[in-house]
């Protein structure tokens, strides 16, 4: 405990300020309740997500380096991102800047040219779930819980990039491949790489029951292609939703706005097509924690969820 720090730079990413407002609002609520402090990263730019990196390598490095530089300017060594895509992008930049001297020097020169401070030190990026687990932990969640999520059966959906790949997320003890000294090793705060359990632990501490959801808990939702390759995304989301439903889940807990949007969008389309067993609503895990901490459905913006988890939660007397 205490590895990451109680006060960190908070990189919300574009979607949390728009369509995923609920995640942003509920994250702030949970952080406040757990006694943690988020320092909003002023004037950040897009991390490039999964898309820009396919178009340009150096450009994506620059986008992320600019955000890192802003964090350094605000005096932080640690950035916390609530989105799998954002934390992946920042960690990816971290990996290449640390292991490739040429990339690091080039990026620094270009940053100066673009009127941004150079990177004196490369800040580390963590997913917000890791941060909650390590700085507060299940014990603190249990203490703060006023209205336990009793009877709520949750399928904890982590998405693909939360623990993967181990080079960037540093979730794996063995370095892999040659030149072990340049490959980052597992960090103390990292979740289990094949069987992540941090979200299970936090939600169970809040009184919920986790359903059997492996191996779909880290199955990709087809997010990067959710608009451009509808067939694949639809199939993947169908597999996720059906596994959750058939294992008795009331709700899917997500921790990434892209997974969340993808699941909600394709859930709706699958239901329109009449595919069976796909009517499981999705909610951010912070929303569920917020409810457990005694906040109302309106406080955690449950109405924003297009898949509408309100009826399920109302039936169980949780909202």
């Amino acid at each position: 405990m205490g590895v990451i720090g109680k006060r960190v730079a908070y990189y919300p990413g574009c979607s949390l300020e728009g369509a995923s407002r609920a995640y942003d609002v509920s994250t702030r609520i949970v952080a406040k309740e757990l006694g943690l402090e988020l320092d909003y990263l002023e004037d950040y730019n897009c991390c490039g997500a999964m898309e820009s990196k396919n178009v340009t390598f150096m450009g994506t490095m620059l986008l992320n380096a600019r955000n890192m530089s802003l964090a350094r300017k605000q005096g932080h060594d640690v950035i916390v991102a609530p989105c799998n895509g954002c934390s992946f992008s920042l960690q990816r930049a971290e990996y290449f800047l640390e292991t490739d001297r040429n990339v690091f020097e080039r990026v620094n020169a270009l940053l100066r040219e673009g009127g941004v401070d150079q990177l004196d030190k490369i800040p580390h990026t963590y997913h917000i779930l890791e941060w909650f687990y390590h700085e507060a932990g299940p014990q603190k969640v249990k203490e703060k819980t006023k209205r336990p999520l009793r009877g709520l059966k949750v399928a904890n959906y982590y998405g693909c990039l939360y623990t993967r790949p181990h080079f960037y997320a540093r979730t794996y003890a063995h370095a892999g491949g040659q030149e072990e000294e340049v490959r980052p090793r597992k960090r103390d705060t990292a979740d289990d790489d094949e069987h992540p359990y941090y979200m299970n632990a936090l939600l169970e501490a809040a009184g919920a029951t986790s359903v059997e959801f492996e191996p779909m808990h880290t199955q990709c939702c087809g997010g990067p292609h959710s608009l451009s390759d509808e067939q694949v995304s639809e199939k993947f989301v169908m597999m996720i939703l059906q596994t959750a439903k058939r294992n008795g889940a009331d709700i899917i807990a997500t921790e990434c706005p892209l997974c969340h949007a993808s699941v909600e969008m394709y859930r709706h389309r699958l239901m329109m097509k009449g595919v069976p067993d796909v009517d499981v609503p999705a909610a951010y895990f912070t929303q569920l924690l917020g409810l457990a901490f005694g906040y109302s459905a309106n406080d955690v913006k449950l109405k924003d969820n297009l898949s509408d988890p309100l009826p399920v939660l109302k039936r169980l007397g949780l909202a």
Binding site: N45, A49, C160, S228, D229
Partner: protein
């Protein structure tokens, strides 16, 4: 007899006979399935060099073809078994461009879930390498425009212009690119939701916040659609980004 990775063999090269007699000996039952040999003589040896020279593609030479990436790939397992990362790396290293081109229709379907990279015992950044292969092929004009590339470009252009993206504009802009007639307002040239053609699922989905009278959410997104959120101090940085992308040849197409 089983053929492993059958998807790698063209159907017309697989010969199955009910009865087969070779030099007077009846071998049907054991040897009635034959794969006809193929002759390849156009290797492009410079193709792999170009991949090795880019910072995210240089791990390609560590691959020892164990196929762990393919075994864990969800696109291979659940979608199309012709999508085979191990094989793409193999082809790229040999420079068998025409074989790669034959698989161009599935190569872009990678969902970037990084299972391959994660599980590779040799430390190959498989996903990155595959994207470099695609990028190199696109740069040389060996591959046609494919949907995910169009979307990636569309996305990157928005980032380049504003520093940030906006969900509504991304969604409606992409729908417009797919051939729907989206109505735009004459002054700001922004798409107006619910007027013009929209896919039925999207209409129903966007109606939900209206039905539940979620005013705050609607206002926020309407504001973002009208005034695209942008990063301050972006102009100078934008020029540097544009310069870098021009050097990489990312803006040319």
């Amino acid at each position: 007899m089983a053929i492993h990775e059958r998807s790698l063999v063209e159907p017309e090269r697989i010969l199955r006979k009910e009865r087969l007699v070779v030099e007077g000996i009846d071998v049907s039952g054991d040897w009635n399935l034959i794969i006809l040999p193929r002759v390849i003589n156009d290797y492009d040896l410079d193709f792999a060099k170009e991949i090795v020279n880019s910072p995210d593609g240089k791990t390609i030479n560590q691959c020892y073809q164990c196929s762990y990436c393919t075994a864990s790939c969800p696109v291979h397992n659940y979608w199309d078994e012709r999508y085979n990362p191990r094989h793409f790396i193999y082809l790229a290293r040999l420079g068998m461009i025409d074989e790669l081109q034959k698989r161009a229709d599935v190569m872009w379907r990678c969902v970037s879930c990084h299972k391959c990279t994660h599980r590779c015992p040799k430390g190959v950044l498989v996903e990155e390498v595959l994207k470099v292969i695609l990028r190199t092929m696109a740069k040389k004009g060996l591959i046609e425009e494919y949907p995910s590339k169009k979307f990636d470009k569309f996305f990157t252009e928005q980032v380049l212009e504003y520093g940030r993206i906006e969900d509504g504009e991304l969604l409606f802009g992409w729908i417009e690119k797919q051939g729907y007639k989206v109505v735009k307002d004459p002054i700001l040239k922004k798409p107006i939701p619910f007027i013009g053609e929209t896919p039925e699922w999207l209409k129903q989905l966007t109606l939900k916040p209206i039905k539940s009278m979620n005013i705050g959410f609607l206002m926020l997104n309407a504001k973002h659609m009208l005034f695209h959120p942008r990063t301050k101090n972006w102009n100078k940085f934008k020029q540097v980004l544009r310069k870098v992308m021009e050097e990489e040849g990312a803006l040319a197409h």
